[in-house]
């Protein structure tokens, strides 16, 4: 699962696709359509634009299928196609997308410094206002529509690289290795981007849940 190149299973699938096997294509669509749509929605403003992005991405997949050399896994190749198209569409729309301009600078701490005790306190660097216990919250609040909308908007507000890393890792379920390979970034860089992205999404959730 962590392999960043084509697996044996994917190699078989590729062969069937290139031979024009409709069932193989249908299986591919079923595996990735939902993931692609969710990724696209973090880059563009509306679901209908996201659907167009995914449609274009599939056409891109068909166009590239014969030339695909298997240097990345089929999955990460497909995801990078949808990310690229979604990014382009997102940039084009960005004048009318207020959340894109709200993205904070990269040096923002994971948790605001005023949540911690100061240097002249008896326990400097320890919680002043500790986080709440979310295990006490009901599942339908935690994973309800409203909460998931908050998560989508929080991801949409992230700087590009963070957004791509968190969607690939935590939404699409790619491995760290697959992400590094696709984005040509180091393992350490991938971890930092993921850390920052998760911290910001958590902060948005906290504002929503503990409001």
């Amino acid at each position: 699962m962590t392999s960043a190149t084509v697996t044996r299973e994917e190699a078989d699938l590729l062969e069937r696709l290139r031979a024009g096997d409709e069932r193989a294509f249908e299986a591919l669509v079923e595996s990735y359509y939902g993931t692609m749509l969710s990724i696209a929605q973090t880059y563009v403003r509306t679901r209908s634009v996201a659907e167009e992005v995914v449609q274009d991405a599939w056409l891109g997949v068909l166009k590239g299928l014969d030339r695909f050399e298997g240097r990345s896994s089929l999955k990460t190749w497909i995801i990078s196609i949808v990310v690229n198209i979604a990014k382009t569409r997102g940039v084009r729309e960005s004048r009318s997308v207020p959340f894109a301009t709200l993205a904070a600078g990269d040096d923002e701490p994971a948790v605001s410094a005023d949540r911690f005790r100061s240097a002249n306190d008896a326990f400097p660097g320890h919680w002043w206002t500790p986080p709440a216990d979310w295990r006490a919250l009901p599942q339908d609040v935690l994973l309800g529509r409203e909460t998931l909308h908050v998560v989508t908007r929080a991801i949409a507000a992230l700087p590009d690289a963070q957004r791509t890393v968190i969607t690939m890792r935590d939404l699409a379920g790619c491995s760290a290795e697959e992400v590094c390979e696709t984005l040509a970034i180091s393992e350490g860089n991938q971890r930092v981007l993921l850390h920052r992205a998760r911290a910001r999404v958590r902060a948005a959730l906290e504002r929503h849940l503990d409001g």
Binding site: E26, L62, K63, H126, W127, P130, L143, R191, H195
Partner: protein, 97 residues
């Protein structure tokens, strides 16, 4: 809930100055790597030692796990029938060219 005394100057119990420990503020920067099992073993040990004493950081770790799960929950599964039909038509076109 407060972080319990766990620091260099904890409630009159004298700890050697070189006692290694990490603060809550440092913990929050390590949680993502901890979940990834990407912390070097020495740092992971300090991290877990801290969690044993600190309810606030325990909650933070849980919150970050919940965050990861909620991002995963955005994934949609079903492909609408009309979309599938359109894509299959595109595939047939592609095959003919």
């Amino acid at each position: 809930m407060r972080a319990r005394g766990y620091g260099r100057r904890s409630n009159g119990i004298s700890m050697a100055d070189n006692t290694e420990h990490i603060t809550c503020q440092e913990v929050v920067d390590l949680v993502s790597d901890y979940i990834e099992a990407a912390l070097p073993s020495e740092q992971a040990a300090l991290f877990e030692q801290h969690l044993n004493f600190c309810g606030g950081c325990m909650n933070y770790v849980e919150q970050l796990r919940t965050t990861v799960a909620s991002v995963g929950a955005l994934r949609e599964e079903a492909v609408p029938a009309d979309v599938k039909a359109e894509l299959l038509a595109a595939f047939r076109d592609w095959r003919r060219t």
